[in-house]
């Protein structure tokens, strides 16, 4: 079984390397064919534009008859991706997987997911709720995350910056990541975000 998986991955790897698509990339992790890193660039006209996002790809022994296990290692603000763990909710990585699909298709599908979220089938309920009820705030937050974690260009939102600094003043034990996560979770309402941190302590 693993034989078919190895063969497939080698060929798929070549396919992605050879193709001149700039927006996706695939790398082997330490010579182990069953563990790879993928990169996708944020699609144009989305808050993710210009960002470079890493995904960790684990190939099961039963590949390609079972889907690869894929999750984001770059932090990302998106309704179908967990803002905490990077776990992805995408049908082709679950029951809609077909043996004839490839890692290239997976990466392109992830890119498509960044362009068109499915807030009604969320992985992260907090993000999905913000997406549906405060869409412009969602876009600003997603942009801020892309700039902070994925190297997307442009000046950072000064209002968000100020709130992060204030948050870190009041909760000195928290780090910057926690501050961003907390504030984003509470729609950048600093009082609620801080209150929640102390509640969970």
């Amino acid at each position: 079984m693993a034989n078919i998986a190895m063969q497939r991955i080698r060929r798929e790897f070549k396919e992605v390397v050879r193709s001149d698509e700039q927006s996706i990339k695939l790398e082997l992790q330490e010579d182990n064919v069953l563990s790879l890193t993928g990169y996708i660039t944020g699609p144009e006209k989305t808050p993710y534009e210009g960002g470079r996002f890493h995904v960790q790809i684990t190939i099961p022994e039963t590949y390609p008859f079972n889907p690869p296990i894929v999750k984001f290692t770059t932090k990302l603000w998106h309704p179908n991706i967990s803002s905490q763990t990077g776990v992805i909710c995408l049908d082709i990585l679950k029951d809609q997987w077909a043996a004839a699909m490839t890692l290239r298709i997976v990466l392109l599908s992830l890119q498509a997911l960044l362009s068109a979220a499915e807030p009604d089938d969320p992985q992260d309920a907090v993000v999905a709720n913000q997406y549906k009820t405060k869409h412009s705030l969602f876009q600003q937050t997603a942009r801020f995350w892309a700039q902070t974690f994925a190297g997307a260009p442009g000046p950072l939102n000064p209002d968000f910056q100020k709130k992060i600094d204030k948050f870190l003043e009041v909760a000195p034990r928290a780090d910057r990541h926690t501050a961003i996560q907390q504030l984003s979770n509470f729609d950048w309402n600093i009082d609620k975000a801080i209150e929640d941190v102390y509640k969970s302590d």
Binding site: M1, I4, Q7, R8, R11, E12, T62, P64, F65, N66, A98, A99, A100, M101
Partner: protein, 473 residues
């Protein structure tokens, strides 16, 4: 299925012999008027296979199909309703095949690529390629590996084409051809999974819920009736697969069991085994099924349920099974209402538990009766046949108490009103007769045989009246 072994027929024969055999089964008294009567067959997996094969052959003949696989998939999809399949197929064969995911309406995949396998990315000779009716070609090795994974994950009748977005199903013959040469174990597992899937969609078949039991129950129509597996002797409700629960229905008993599981903490407190004698306050352990207690110290007769004087329970009106709701409840505070709700639940739960316990104790008594009969026969006090009525009485007692136990969940969920009053009246009279029977049976040596016989008839009458009035057919 005429050649299949049908155990209910065998059971009937067996039951007639019961009068003289060891296990006294009152089922033989079942008549046409018996509301609990239910015809069922208990069959083996091999019988089920024959049943499916017959149905498939039938349909293949009727529709003049080339492949049995198509007939099987059609039947499985349409819940083995042969008539419906025939009607649909005659009206629109293409649409019917598409509905059952056997053949898609638009078949046009390109076969030009038949030298390149889309799964392993290898160029191969075309002879090694296989496809389902959709025409999506993959090499035989990939198919086999794919099928192994699918079967390993418990799939069988739902295995579909490997191509993206194609939902055409793999016929059994296709799967077997590829996996049979590879592994006999895999083949056996696949066939077993298929059979299980078919049984699940068949409207007249049910798995026996008994542990490790392979038997299948076959009925005309699945109803909430008692079924007894003739292989493992498990008795269950044919509809929900749980313990038989007349007069309560499947939904009621499910609610009740869930509730009992939730409230197990409070239930612990009430399942204490002892109570004090209301007269002399000596601690009494209940060691028999009968609720008519007599204190061994002061000889006071009392009721185990309410601790009241048994005399008031005697022949008149047995009220111990009736829960009296506090009439002022609407005016009480929320706390008091909660207390009242708990009190109400505990009242019913205590009785439910108590009868379950009595059932277990009476099972012990039945063994004792068996021993006593053996002793008597050895001592030449009558023949074995002479004493069978005692075992018959014990079996009837168990049957009646079982129904009585299940009247409590039913009553708990009944809305107050005349119907509930009638139910509780009948429940009370049934309970009174059962306690009477239990009392007489425990003292069978000093009770007249005729008296015991009368009591048996009365108790069963009460039981059947209650079921007739309250068990929905």
């Amino acid at each position: 299925m005429s050649d299949a072994h049908t155990s209910s027929d065998e059971d009937d024969l067996y039951d007639e012999g019961d009068y003289y055999s060891q296990s006294a089964d009152i089922e033989s008294e079942a008549t046409e008027a018996d509301i609990e009567a239910y015809h069922f067959e208990c069959v083996t997996p091999e019988d089920v296979d024959k049943l499916f094969a017959t149905a498939v052959n039938d349909l293949t003949d009727k529709l003049i199909l080339q492949e049995a696989g198509v007939a099987r998939m059609l039947l499985h999809h349409f819940q083995w309703n042969c008539q419906e399949v025939v009607e649909r197929y005659k009206k629109n064969p293409a649409q019917t095949l598409a509905l059952a995911r056997i053949r898609s309406i638009t078949v046009s995949p390109d076969n030009n690529n038949a030298h390149f396998c889309q799964t392993c990315f290898q160029n191969l000779r075309s002879g090694e390629f296989r496809s389902l009716d959709c025409g999506h070609q993959f090499c035989a090795d990939c198919w086999t590996a794919f099928l192994e994974v699918q079967i390993g994950q418990g799939r069988s009748t739902e295995i579909a084409c490997m191509s993206q977005g194609c939902d055409i199903l793999a016929p059994m013959e296709f799967v077997l051809q590829l996996i049979a040469p590879k592994s006999a174990l895999l083949e056996a597992r696949y066939l077993q999974f298929c059979r299980n899937d078919w049984i699940r969609t068949h409207p007249q078949l049910r798995f026996c819920p008994g542990r490790n039991c392979q038997a299948v129950i076959r009925v005309e129509q699945i109803l909430a009736k008692r079924v007894k597996c003739s292989f493992c002797q498990t008795q269950f409700c044919c509809r929900c697969g749980g313990d038989y629960h007349a007069p309560a229905d499947c939904e009621t008993i499910k609610k009740w069991i869930t509730k009992c599981a939730d409230d197990s903490e409070t239930a612990n407190y009430i399942s204490a085994h002892t109570k004090d004698c209301p007269m002399c306050h000596v601690c009494i352990e209940k060691n028999g099924g009968c609720n008519h207690m007599q204190c061994s110290g002061c000889k006071y007769d009392f009721c185990w349920m309410c601790l009241g004087d048994w005399k008031t329970h005697g022949s008149q009106y047995y009220e111990c099974s009736r829960y009296k709701e506090n009439p002022n409840i609407a005016n009480e505070s929320v706390n008091a209402q909660a207390r009242e709700a708990l009190k109400k639940y505990l009242f019913y739960f205590e009785r439910w538990e108590n009868h379950a316990k009595s059932l277990r104790l009476e099972e012990v008594m039945r063994e004792k009766i068996q021993n006593r009969i053996n002793q008597k026969v050895m001592a030449k006090e009558g023949t074995w046949i002479d004493w069978q009525y005692l075992l018959d009485a014990a079996a009837l007692l168990a049957k009646c108490r079982y129904t009585l136990q299940y009247t409590y969940p039913y009553a708990y969920f009944l809305d107050p009103g005349p119907r509930k009053e009638l139910f509780e009246y009948q429940q009370a009279t049934l309970e009174a007769e059962i306690e009477n029977l239990s009392w007489k049976l425990e003292r069978a040596e000093t009770t007249q045989r005729g008296e015991l016989g009368n009591q048996m008839v009365i108790a069963e009458k009460r039981r059947s009246i209650l079921l007739k009035d309250f068990l929905s057919p």
